[in-house]
């Protein structure tokens, strides 16, 4: 009888009142239990897969380490490639001089000096300019058969002709200060120099050609008392990038 009643209502597209009542009463708590059940299952699955997740986490950390390592290595290699490109310009005779390739084999930071792996057998002579990827690195000081010493341009022992690139080009002697900067002292107080100006070799020497990049003006001081002008220059040379250099002869 119940089934017939139900079927009659279904035939008219309706639900019997008993089913409707039960469904109204029970569906909310059933949904709540479902939700709790799902949460519990997920929680238990989380516990069950904790070891696997920990291993995966450790593996990802290792991969991250490796990636960082290779990323750093790539940066270094890119730098070296850039340096090699810059050096190839010197090697191809940009300054009309013979280029002798050399490698730095020792560095004495307190003396602002480096030892190169080429000497008189390769044609190296004292007072020749040594060029790195970013510009003038130093001047050859002493030479042996198969090695030589190079004073970095920041060494107080180095003094060479330089000029500021502007019109007119004020030329003078640039000196190392023993710190990380260089200085040009002009005897004329009216010399035009501005912060940011490029400083290159003047070429007023038989050994050092004109136009090798040295650095950039960072400060100018008018010394009115002496009627002179002091220009501070930050060198382009970076010791950390001096692995391979070129001696211009």
């Amino acid at each position: 009888m119940l089934g017939k009643f139900q079927n009659q209502l279904r035939a008219h597209g309706a639900v019997d009142p008993i089913s409707k009542l039960y469904q109204t009463v029970y569906n909310p708590p059933i949904a709540a239990v479902h939700s709790a059940g799902n949460s519990t299952i997920q929680f238990l699955q989380g516990i069950a897969s904790a070891r696997g997740l920990a291993q995966q986490n450790a593996s990802l950390k290792n991969q991250l380490k490796a990636t960082l390592f290779y990323s750093e290595r790539i940066t270094v290699l890119e730098q070296q490639l850039e340096d090699a490109r810059a050096m190839s310009g010197f090697a191809s005779g940009d300054f009309g001089r013979k280029a002798i390739k050399a490698q730095v084999i020792a560095y004495l930071p307190h003396e602002r000096r480096m030892t190169l792996n080429v000497g008189s057998n390769q044609g190296v002579e004292p007072m020749l300019p040594v060029v790195g990827p970013t510009g003038l690195a130093g001047i050859v000081s002493t030479v042996t058969a198969n090695s030589c010493q190079m004073n970095l341009i920041i060494s107080p022992q180095v003094q060479l002709g330089a000029m500021i690139v502007r019109d007119p080009n004020p030329a003078g002697l640039i000196k190392g200060t023993g710190t990380d900067s260089l200085v040009i002292e002009y005897l004329e107080a009216g010399v035009q120099a501005q912060v940011g100006d490029l400083v290159v070799t003047s070429g007023y020497s038989s050994r050092i050609p004109r136009g090798i990049r040295i650095g950039q003006v960072v400060n100018t001081n008018l010394e009115a008392e002496y009627g002179s002008k002091r220009v501070d220059v930050a060198p382009f040379m970076q010791v950390s990038r001096l692995e391979e250099v070129v001696i211009l002869k």
């Binding site: 089934g3 019997d16 008993i18 089913s19 039960y22 029970y26 059933i30 479902h34 059940g37």
Partner: protein, 158 residues
């Protein structure tokens, strides 16, 4: 139903049974076999009831099962009421059951109930239906044991 506490237990189980069956049972499936709380409750309550009360209890559980499953109510009501009616005869036999025996009663009640359902509403594939019934009967037997102990401890008429 002479014991008030048994009446309360019956009402509680009739109320929460459908929630457990439709909300919790899917999460308790083992090897694809789900328990059938409504048959377990019918059988275990019937062990403490007279046949008429056992049939009434089965009627309510069948009603709940049929309505929530969207099935034909008369088939579920009839089979569950008959199951409750049959189980309550164990009480009349004056045999003092232990938990394992109660488990067997629940398993048998499941088999009988589903067999009757199969007769009044033949399933499309009898093989899988029988296979599922056997699994559910075993599951129900296990669940019935602690429930029977609880009912005997708290709801049995003095």
């Amino acid at each position: 139903m002479r014991s008030p506490s048994l009446f309360v237990w019956a009402v509680v189980l009739i109320v929460i049974g459908p929630v457990l069956q439709h909300g919790l049972a899917p999460y308790l499936a083992l090897f694809g076999v789900r328990p059938d709380f409504l048959i377990v409750f019918t059988a275990m309550l019937a062990l403490f009831l007279r046949p008429s009360s056992g049939a009434a209890t089965g009627f309510f559980f069948g009603l709940a099962q049929g309505t929530l499953a969207g099935a034909n109510l008369s088939q579920y009501v009839l089979t569950r009421a008959l199951t409750g009616f049959a189980c309550s005869f164990v009480r009349n036999s004056q045999i003092e059951l232990g938990a394992p025996a109660a488990g067997l009663v629940a398993a048998a009640a499941t088999a009988i109930s589903q067999f009757l359902l199969m007769l009044v509403a033949p399933p499309p594939a009898i093989g899988p239906f029988i296979q599922a019934t056997i699994g559910t009967a075993i599951y129900n037997g296990v669940i019935a044991m602690p429930l029977y102990v609880l009912l005997r401890r708290f709801a049995k008429p003095k």
